[in-house]
Symmetry: C2
Subunit: 217 residues, 2 copies
DNA sequence: CAGTGTGAATTCATTCACAGCG
DNA sequence: CGCTGTGAATGAATTCACACTG
């Protein structure tokens, strides 16, 4: 498989977040000094199906050695490249409330090729604050900032009512990817990838499975 | 359909988070004073497929009127009941770092039947702090707290290294649902529902779709 | 021979299309 | 008539099972 550049639209959508999880486990294995791993061992760590893991890899190439398994370091390199995390992405965070500043400090982002270059907020109360070395800027400077500093990805942690407004601004400024934590569906735009993350939905999913039955009426 | 209590294991897993999103849109419609809505109108608001929405509802009952549509208020009641959010769930948050306290303050949780009854942290630096009326308790008091105050759902916002440890403690204390924000897969336990939420995975998914191709080697 | 890579089989999810009802 | 509710058709994702290789 994979005799040349891969067409990403051929990769099942469900595969993509799994690749990220494989990568995390592999990093852990690497830090434990484990040199190689089989799909079966990976599957146990992830409680997943070994065939699923192999198939997921197969969309991108042949990364293993038959009868042996996968070399951890090599597999990390390959998956990182496939996921695009070996490139350096410029990221900004819109909204420096609790969630925004939690994300700004989150180490996982910085470690995986995401370079936080700005945090913006419209409230005077937080503008000027320093979050782990990044100063919170006033939102009215956003458009100008984007002119001078091309940004790839915007993380939206603004209130739902202004999410679409802010999204429009960053898209106008050339941002090509958005992770939206605001509880508001954003209008889709050609050439811009939008990922919706819904914290309260997660709680409701848990409550669904906890409430034992659902008697009608 | 649905002549009696519904068997939740019959409901497609993909349906559950969608119900939560339907509910949010319906609440918005309600606050706009809209009395009824068709599956087509809902679909437009959500950019989803109208048949999908009707089918999702059909797992739980017949909520609409043929030729007319759905009464907004009635539908909210029904879906809330199906999702279990009309029950009152006792929730604790483990880990009062930035993310934990962001979630503690998040209004959406409180509004939808989730009652935050405690926040715990192991660090002296945050124990005793007040987060919107809830005091951060020392984690060593967790087991005792759970004995006196039954808790349904635990939100884990602790570092990945201690996530399993903390999860074991809350499960021992009778918690039946966990939303885990720590980047660590938790061992599954019978009778305990665990939902993994992965913030850095979301960023990687975006980076995947942004990086235009993935040339091998 | 152990473990990958992958067609084929299966399961799960979405969408279509229309009968049936208010 | 218009819109729901739902079997049937399609499509996507997962799992099986085994040929193949180092």
């Amino acid at each position: 498989m994979a005799p040349g550049p891969i067409d990403k639209s051929q990769v099942p959508q469900a595969t993509v977040p799994r690749l990220a999880r494989y990568l995390r486990v592999l990093h852990r294995l690497e830090s434990e000094g484990v040199p190689k791993v089989s799909s079966k061992e990976l599957a146990e760590r992830l409680d997943a199906n070994a065939a699923q893991i192999r198939k997921d890899f197969s969309y991108f190439g042949e990364f293993g050695v038959r009868g042996v398994g996968y070399e951890v370091e090599y597999l990390i390199d390959q998956l990182s490249r496939c996921l695009g995390v070996s490139e350096k992405w410029k990221v900004i965070i819109l909204g420096a409330g609790k969630l925004g500043s939690a994300l700004a400090r989150y180490r996982g982002f910085q470690e995986e090729g995401f370079d936080l270059v700005g945090v913006f907020d419209s409230s005077q109360r937080v503008v000027g604050l320093d979050i782990d070395g990044v100063t919170v800027r006033p939102e009215r400077e956003l458009a100008e900032f984007l002119k001078d500093n091309p940004v790839d990805i915007a993380i939206l942690t603004v209130p739902g009512e202004v999410a679409q407004l802010v999204a429009d601004k960053v898209i106008a400024g050339g941002v090509k990817g958005i992770v939206n934590f605001a509880p508001a569906r954003l209008a889709s735009v050609d050439g811009v990838f939008i990922r919706q993350v819904d914290l309260s939905t997660e709680l409701m999913v848990v409550s669904f499975y906890l409430s034992k039955e659902c008697s009608p009426r």
